[in-house]
C-alpha cells in the first residue's frame, strides 16, 4: 500500500512534466516585465515568486469552478531569464487530466485584476499570451469638456459685443443731442460748414477721376 502511494507520488511530477512543455495545446505562456514596471524596486524572480504565481492561479481557478484547486495543480515549466514560462492547470480530482484552455482563459479574465495586483504589475507588464485584457471603459463626462470651455469663451465674446454696441449707441445719442443744441445756436448765422479733407471720401469714381486728372497735371 505504502509502496503504491510512493510510486504514485513519484509518478505524478513525471506525468505533470509530460503535460507541461512549450507550445502544449492546453498550456499558456506567461511573460513578466518586472524591471520595466518597477525599475529600482524590482524583485528577483525566484522559487517563492513562482509559488505565489501558482497560488494566485489556483485561487483564480477556484473562483471560476469552485473545485479545490491547490498549488500542485498549477504546473510551471520552461522558465527563461526573460521571466517567461509556460503553465498548465490539472484537475484536482484527476491529476492526469488537464483543464481546457478556454476555462483557464475565463478564470484569468475573471480574476485578472487580483493576479496583477499580487505581483504589483499591470496588464501590459504581466502578459498572458493569447488572452487579451479587457481595457477600461472610457470615462465619458455628461457634458463634453470642450463644450464647457466653448460656452465660457462664447459668453465672454457676446458680452463684449453687447457692451461695445451699447457704448457706441449711447455715444451716438449723446452726439445727436449735442448737435441739436449747437444747430439751434447756429441757425441764425446760416453758415455752411465745409469739410476740408485730403482726398475723397464717398464718391462716384468715374466722374471724380476726370476731376482728379487735373490735380496731377505735369508741370
Amino acid at each position: 500500500m505504502l509502496e503504491r502511494v510512493f510510486l504514485l507520488l513519484c509518478f505524478l511530477p513525471v506525468l505533470a512534466a509530460e503535460t507541461c512543455k512549450p507550445n502544449t495545446p492546453n498550456g499558456h505562456k506567461v511573460r513578466l516585465s518586472i524591471k520595466t514596471a518597477l525599475g529600482a524596486e524590482a524583485y528577483d524572480w525566484n522559487e517563492n515568486e513562482r509559488f505565489l504565481f501558482q497560488s494566485t492561479m489556483a485561487y483564480a481557478m477556484r473562483n471560476l469552478k469552485g473545485e479545490n484547486f491547490t498549488v500542485s495543480n498549477i504546473v510551471v515549466c520552461d522558465e527563461t531569464p526573460r521571466v517567461s514560462f509556460w503553465f498548465v492547470v490539472t484537475s484536482p480530482n484527476d491529476p492526469s487530466k488537464v483543464v481546457s484552455k478556454g476555462e483557464v482563459e475565463e478564470a484569468v479574465r475573471k480574476s485578472r485584476n487580483r493576479i496583477n495586483q499580487a505581483f504589483m504589475l499591470s496588464d501590459s507588464t504581466l502578459e498572458f499570451i493569447g488572452i487579451l485584457p479587457t481595457l477600461a471603459a472610457p470615462v465619458e463626462p455628461p457634458t463634453p469638456t470642450w463644450l464647457i470651455v466653448f460656452g465660457v469663451v462664447m459668453g465672454m465674446v457676446l458680452a463684449g459685443i453687447v457692451i461695445l454696441l451699447a457704448l457706441s449707441f449711447v455715444q451716438k445719442k449723446r452726439k445727436k443731442n449735442k448737435k441739436a443744441d449747437v444747430e439751434e445756436e447756429e441757425d441764425d448765422e446760416g453758415t455752411q460748414v465745409q469739410t476740408a479733407e485730403n482726398g475723397a471720401t464717398r464718391v462716384d469714381y468715374y466722374n471724380n477721376s476726370f476731376a482728379d486728372d487735373e490735380r496731377f497735371t505735369h508741370m
Binding site: R31, S33, I34, K35, T36, T80, P81, R82, V83, S84, L132, P133, T134, L135, A136, A137, P138, T145, W146, L147, I148, V149, F150, V153, M154, V157, L158, G160, I161, L164, L165, S168, V193, T195, E197, N198, G199, A200, T201, R202, V203, D204, Y205, Y206, N208, S209, D212, F216
Partner: protein, 597 residues
C-alpha cells in the same frame, strides 16, 4: 461735419502693429520652416533675404503709398489712378473674399484644439478603445493618435471630395465663435481694430519666446536645430529654391489682397510709411526665422523621441523572441546585441527580420511637413510628449489663434473698406454692415465643416489666391511704374513724406520687381500646365494614410472658376470703363455740335 471725415488710426503705432499682425501669420510658422528644411537649411536664408530686398520691401512700400495717398480702399484707389483699372481693386476684393471664407476655418480648428486641451489626458495622445474593449480602434492603430484625432474627430473626413455628409457640430460651433470674435474686433472699424492689434501683434512673440526656451531644454532638440540649419549650399543651384523664396516673401507679406491699401488709407496724410514699410517687412522675415528655430527644436525633440521609441520596440521584440533577461539589452547596447544574436542564432534572427523596424534618427528628421498637417498633427504630437502637456497645448493653440485672427483682421478689412467707399453703402451704419459681411462669410464657410470640407479647403488654399495675387500685383507694379508714371508717383510720395524715394526704390519698381513677378507668373503657368490633372491628398481610413487622388470633373471646373473669377475682373472692368467713356464721349460730342449749330 465729423461724420463724413474718414476714420483714422489712434496713432501711427497702431497702424504699424496692424500691419505686423496681418503679415505675421500662420505661414511664418508652418510654411517657412518647411521651405528652410527642403532647400538646404541655413543656406535658404540667402535667397530669402535677397528676395526680401528685391521684391518684398519695394512692393510693400508701394501698396502703402497708394493707400495713404488715395485714402480709399483698393477699388477706389485703383479707379482714381486710372478708371480702366478699377478691376484690379475688384479682383483684390474677390480674392480677399475667397480667403476670408476659408481662413477662419483654421481659427475654428485652433479653437477646437484649444478647448479640447482642458482635459487630464489630451485626446490626441491616446487612441480611443474599440467597441469590444479589446484594443484601440483600428483606424487609430493604423495611423497615429494625433492623425486620428485630426482626421476623424476634428474633421470627420470623408474618403474623397465626392462623398459628403452633414455639418460637424463641433466645427460649426467653433466657426461661429471665430466669426463672432472677428466681428467683435472690427465692429467699430479701425477704432476697435487698432486696440486689438496691440495684443494680437505682440503676444505671439511672447509665446514663441517661451517655446524657444522650452524647446531648447527638451531632450534631443539640438539634433533638430543642427540638422536643419546646416547649410547645404548645393540647393542654391536649384532654381526651385529661388522661386520658392520669392513666392514665400510675396505671400507672407500679404501683397495684392488690398489689406495694406485699406490699412494705409486710414493713415494721416503725412505719416512716415517708408520707415514703417521697411520695419514691418524685416519684422515679418525675422519672425519667420525665429519661428523656424523654434520649430526645428521641436522637430528635433519629436524625432529623437520617435527614434528612441522605435529602438524601445525593437528591444522588446528581441527580449521576447530570444527570452533574454530585461537588463541585458538597453538602448545603448542594442545594436551590438543585435549583431551578437545574428551570429549566434542566424535562423531565428532571419525569421525576425520581417518585423524588425529600421530605426534611423536621420529619416525621422527628414520627414518634412508643412501646412495644417504641421500645426495640428506634428506639433500636437510633440506636445503630448512634453511634461505638463495641457499647459503647452493651451499656450500653443492660443498663439495659433492670435496669429490667425491677426491676419483675419487684415483680410476682412480688405473687403469692408472698399465696399464702404461706395455711396450706396453710406446709409448703413458701420456695425450693421460689418455684421452683414461676417454673417455672409459665416454662412458660406459652414460648407467647410462638412466631411468633404477639408478637401474644398485645400482647393481654396491652393488655387483661390496664389495665381490671382501674382497677376494682381504684377498689374499693380506695371501700372504704377508705367501707366500712372514713376515720376507722378515720386511726386506723390514727396508730397506725403517731404522727400523723394531714392534710386533703389525706383529701380526696384520699374525694372526688378516686374521682371521677378513675370518670372514667377510664367513659372506658375508652366507648373499648372505640366502638372496635368490637379490632385489632392485624400485620407484613406483603411490604410491610415493620405493618398494622392485626382480631382473629379466638377472639382476641376470649380478650380477653373476660382482662378478665372478673380483674374477676369481686371479685363472686364476695363471693358466696362471703356464702354462708359465712349458713351460719355458721344454725349459730349453731341452737345458740342448743337451749340456750334
Amino acid at each position: 461735419m465729423g461724420k463724413d471725415a474718414r476714420d483714422s488710426w489712434g496713432s501711427p503705432a497702431e497702424f504699424m502693429l496692424a500691419c505686423v499682425s496681418y503679415a505675421v501669420g500662420l505661414g511664418n510658422v508652418w510654411r517657412f520652416p518647411y521651405l528652410c528644411q527642403m532647400h538646404g537649411g541655413g543656406g535658404f536664408l540667402i535667397p530669402y533675404l535677397l528676395m526680401l530686398l528685391l521684391e518684398g520691401v519695394p512692393l510693400f512700400y508701394m501698396e502703402l503709398a497708394i493707400g495713404q495717398k488715395m485714402r480709399l480702399g483698393s477699388i477706389g484707389a485703383w479707379t482714381a489712378i486710372s478708371p480702366y483699372l478699377s478691376g484690379v481693386g475688384l479682383a483684390s476684393v474677390v480674392t480677399s473674399l475667397y480667403l476670408c471664407l476659408y481662413y477662419n476655418i483654421i481659427n475654428a480648428w485652433s479653437f477646437w484644439y484649444l478647448f479640447n486641451s482642458f482635459q487630464s489626458v489630451l485626446p490626441w495622445a491616446v487612441c480611443p478603445v474599440n467597441s469590444n474593449r479589446t484594443g484601440p480602434l483600428e483606424e487609430c492603430e493604423r495611423a497615429t493618435p494625433t492623425q486620428y484625432f485630426f482626421y476623424r474627430e476634428t474633421l470627420d473626413i470623408s474618403p474623397s471630395i465626392e462623398e459628403n455628409g452633414g455639418i460637424h457640430t463641433g466645427q460649426a460651433l467653433c466657426l461661429v465663435l471665430a466669426w463672432i470674435l472677428t466681428f467683435l474686433f472690427i465692429v467699430r472699424g479701425v477704432k476697435s481694430t487698432g486696440k486689438v492689434v496691440y495684443f494680437t501683434a505682440t503676444f505671439p512673440y511672447l509665446v514663441l519666446f517661451i517655446y524657444l526656451v522650452r524647446g531648447f531644454t527638451l531632450h534631443g532638440a539640438i539634433n533638430g536645430v543642427k540638422y536643419m540649419f546646416t547649410p547645404k549650399m548645393e540647393e542654391l543651384a536649384n532654381p526651385v529654391t529661388w522661386i520658392n523664396a520669392a513666392t514665400q516673401i510675396f505671400f507672407s507679406l500679404g501683397l495684392g489682397f488690398g489689406s495694406l491699401i485699406a490699412f494705409a488709407s486710414y493713415n494721416q496724410y503725412h505719416n512716415n510709411f517708408q520707415r514703417q514699410a521697411i520695419a514691418v517687412s524685416f519684422i515679418n522675415s525675422g519672425t519667420s526665422i525665429f519661428a523656424a528655430i523654434v520649430t526645428f527644436a521641436i522637430y528635433g525633440f519629436k524625432a529623437t523621441v520617435n527614434y528612441e521609441n522605435c529602438l524601445g520596440r525593437t528591444r522588446v521584440l528581441l527580449l521576447n523572441t530570444f527570452n533574454l533577461a530585461e537588463d541585458s539589452v538597453s538602448l545603448d547596447n542594442i545594436l551590438e546585441v543585435m549583431d551578437q544574436l545574428n551570429t549566434t542564432y542566424p535562423q531565428q534572427f532571419a525569421e525576425l527580420s520581417g518585423r524588425l523596424e529600421n530605426c534611423s534618427l536621420e529619416s525621422e528628421l527628414d520627414t518634412a511637413v508643412e501646412g495644417a498637417g504641421l500645426a495640428f498633427i506634428v506639433y500636437s504630437e510633440a506636445i503630448t510628449n512634453m511634461p505638463l502637456s495641457q499647459f503647452w497645448s493651451v499656450l500653443y493653440f492660443f498663439m495659433l489663434l492670435l496669429l490667425g485672427m491677426g491676419s483675419m483682421l487684415g483680410n476682412i478689412t480688405a473687403i469692408i473698406t472698399p465696399l464702404r467707399d461706395f455711396k450706396i453703402t453710406s446709409g448703413i451704419s458701420d456695425e450693421v454692415f460689418n455684421g452683414g459681411v461676417c454673417l455672409f462669410c459665416l454662412l458660406l464657410g459652414l460648407g467647410f465643416t462638412t466631411p468633404s470640407g477639408n478637401y474644398w479647403f485645400t482647393m481654396f488654399n491652393d488655387y483661390g489666391a496664389t495665381f490671382s495675387l501674382l497677376f494682381i500685383v504684377l498689374i499693380e507694379v506695371i501700372t504704377v511704374s508705367y501707366i500712372y508714371g514713376i515720376k507722378r508717383f515720386e511726386k506723390d510720395i514727396e508730397d506725403m513724406l517731404g522727400h523723394r524715394p531714392n534710386w533703389y526704390w525706383k529701380i526696384m519698381w520699374v525694372v526688378v520687381s516686374p521682371l521677378l513677378l513675370i518670372g514667377l507668373f510664367v513659372f506658375y503657368i508652366i507648373t499648372y500646365i505640366q502638372g496635368g490633372t490637379p490632385t489632392y491628398q485624400a485620407w484613406d481610413k483603411d490604410v491610415g494614410k493620405s493618398v494622392q487622388t485626382e480631382y473629379p470633373v466638377f472639382g476641376q471646373v470649380f478650380i477653373g472658376l476660382l482662378l478665372v473669377s478673380s483674374v477676369s475682373c481686371i479685363p472686364l472692368a476695363a471693358l466696362y470703363a471703356f464702354c462708359r467713356k465712349r458713351k460719355h464721349g458721344v454725349v459730349q460730342k453731341e452737345s458740342v455740335s448743337t451749340v456750334a449749330a
